[in-house]
């Protein structure tokens, strides 16, 4: 190496030199110290080269934020969890489509033959036909209004703006599975044999037959599931479940909602923004009370909104109230009741907790 002829930029452009400056080893240290001892007149060039290497490494780079990095990762996970579920169908579409079609045709032909020879016997071949080529429909709503959809099982869905729903042309198999990005209201046809599953951004919502709303904007850090009727099971969609993931989830009843924080994979239970009346309109007038014990008022609330009201019966034993709350919503009702009772309320874990010192 003719290092003794090198100037600063030659040094900085040299891989061995750069290696020595950024990660010196005893060997490189010895070599370059030796070089400088032999050619002291090259000191400036070496020093300037060193400054270039060190300085250029430390120049302030373009701004990269943590949020950006974790945001892209969330997207990657989202994409993977969606595509992996569809992996079988992709695999079919891509490669062995023809082979598969051929073997399906063969199976069908065989089944038909068996059938025609043994007209009465149920054909095991025909019965165990695999759920072949699942055809998917993707509905995208780019309009300003919600988009009504009807699924093959009769379930109705209102797809929100800028939202996308992917569902099979037919619900074969033991589950009814759909994929949602964005917002949608689901009114699911009851079928206990075939649970209905909504996959969104790492969260699974599982129901047998019920109505609920899912909000899962593509890049949002959280997913919200709000229940209107029936029971809904909500749990995180883990890639490698060590235990039953459903056991780690929550069960929601009407007027409850679950918020799923994607990053931490935490699900918290709460009360929906606008709790609705679960009993017929005609019973609304039952919310006029005269000298009614507190206990009776809370029982009426529980019944009307399906939310558990937790209070200390002992403390509230002597409390009674006279109010007419037929027109107010749940929040207003609670405000009024608590004002009268000198109490406070909180929503914890999807329940209404009443704090009172008694009357």
């Amino acid at each position: 190496m003719n290092y003794y002829q090198y100037n600063a930029e030659d040094f900085a452009a040299d891989d061995d030199f750069k290696e020595w400056v950024s990660q010196p080893t005893p060997r490189s240290e010895a070599f370059w110290r030796g070089f400088l001892a032999d050619y002291p007149e090259r000191y400036y060039q070496v020093e300037e080269g060193r400054r270039l290497v060190e300085g250029l490494r430390q120049l302030p780079g373009p701004p990269v934020s943590e949020r950006q990095i974790s945001g892209v990762w969330t997207r990657i996970e989202g994409t993977l969890s969606t595509t992996e579920r569809q992996a079988p169908s992709r695999w079919l579409i891509r490669r062995q489509r023809w082979q598969l079609a051929a073997s399906v045709a063969l199976l069908l032909a065989l089944g038909w033959l068996v059938r025609s020879y043994l007209p009465e016997a149920p054909s095991p071949l025909a019965a165990s036909q695999p759920a072949t080529q699942q055809q998917w429909i993707e509905a995208t709503n780019e309009a300003d209004q919600t988009m009504p959809l009807q699924l093959p099982d009769g379930s109705r869905i209102d797809l929100g703006r800028n939202s996308r729903l992917k569902y099979p042309k037919e619900f074969t198999g033991s589950l009814r599975e759909v994929y949602l990005t964005g917002d949608a209201f689901f009114d699911i046809e009851k079928n206990p044999q075939k649970p209905f599953m909504v996959y969104t951004n790492g969260l699974i919502t599982k129901v047998l037959g019920t109505s609920f709303h899912v909000s899962a904007p593509l890049y949002a850090p959280s997913v919200t599931v709000s229940v209107r009727s029936g029971r809904v099971s909500v749990y995180a969609d883990k890639a490698t479940p060590s235990q039953d993931p459903e056991a780690a989830g929550v069960v929601l009843t009407p007027n409850q909602r679950a918020v799923f924080q994607r990053k931490e994979a935490i699900i918290t239970k709460g009360v929906v923004d606008k709790p609705i009346f679960l009993i017929p309109e005609s019973e609304k007038r039952l919310f006029a009370f005269e000298e009614a014990p507190a206990q009776e008022v809370f029982a009426a609330l529980e019944k009307a909104y399906g939310l558990e009201v937790v209070f200390d019966e002992e403390v509230l034993k002597k409390c009674s109230l006279t109010v007419n709350l037929s027109e107010e919503d749940l929040y207003q009702k609670l405000e009024v009741i608590c004002k009268v009772l000198g109490a406070q309320y909180k929503f914890i874990d999807g329940q209404v907790i009443i704090y009172s010192r008694g009357c």
Binding site: Y43, S65, T83
Partner: protein, 197 residues
């Protein structure tokens, strides 16, 4: 930084389908990749989309990937290819330059700001930065790959998709400009020499 053998282990674990290893690879390299992306385009959306696609491809083709002892090299080259391909094909990316908007959002914590603290060095860095700003985008890219991301000239050539001689030329001509900014002044000389002797 991981050692060579740790890198190989990590890569092999990932190729066997280990999701944690996959995430680790992302965490180790994502920042650098985004930072490098800015040298190719100022379109943040394009950089992020390419990074996303790159890792999706990586996971989906993990079984077909060969052994490598430089994950980083592989990732840098793939990212550059992705960004370039999108730039050539997609009018959308060409049209929108979201970078400026994004910078204005500001106030986010920045990762890559490890300034050294002594006054002399600060001064040196400022001068160097001034020189760096005068370089052409391709020169900046090569300089970054070499000094910030520690690639060899050979690797830089392959990442940038140019031949070895051109890569060396880019780097060399850039260094020539930059050298003027790190000139050792007379006073410094004396001090350094005294240290040295």
């Amino acid at each position: 930084m991981l050692s060579r053998s740790q890198n190989i282990d990590l890569w092999n674990t990932f190729r066997q389908g280990d999701r944690a290893a996959f995430q680790r690879i992302y965490e180790l390299h994502a920042r650098e990749l985004v930072s490098y992306g800015y040298r190719i385009t100022s379109n943040v959306q394009l950089i992020e989309d390419s990074l996303h696609d790159l890792f999706i491809d990586l996971w989906q083709s993990r079984e077909n990937l060969s052994e490598t002892d430089s994950i980083k090299f592989y990732l840098f080259r793939s990212l550059r290819n992705k960004i370039q391909r999108s730039q050539q094909q997609d009018v959308f990316y060409k049209a929108a330059d979201v970078a400026q908007m994004h910078h204005l959002e500001g106030n986010e914590e920045l990762i890559e700001t490890q300034w050294i603290n002594t006054e002399g060095q600060q001064q040196l860095l400022r001068q160097l930065d001034a020189g760096y700003q005068q370089l052409s985008p391709r020169q900046q890219q090569a300089i970054d790959l070499r000094f910030r991301h520690h690639f060899s000239n050979e690797e830089i050539a392959r990442i940038m998709g140019i031949n070895y001689q051109s890569a060396c030329k880019f780097i060399y001509s850039a260094l020539k400009v930059l050298r003027e900014n790190v000139r050792i002044l007379g006073l410094y000389l004396v001090l350094f020499l005294r240290d040295f002797l």
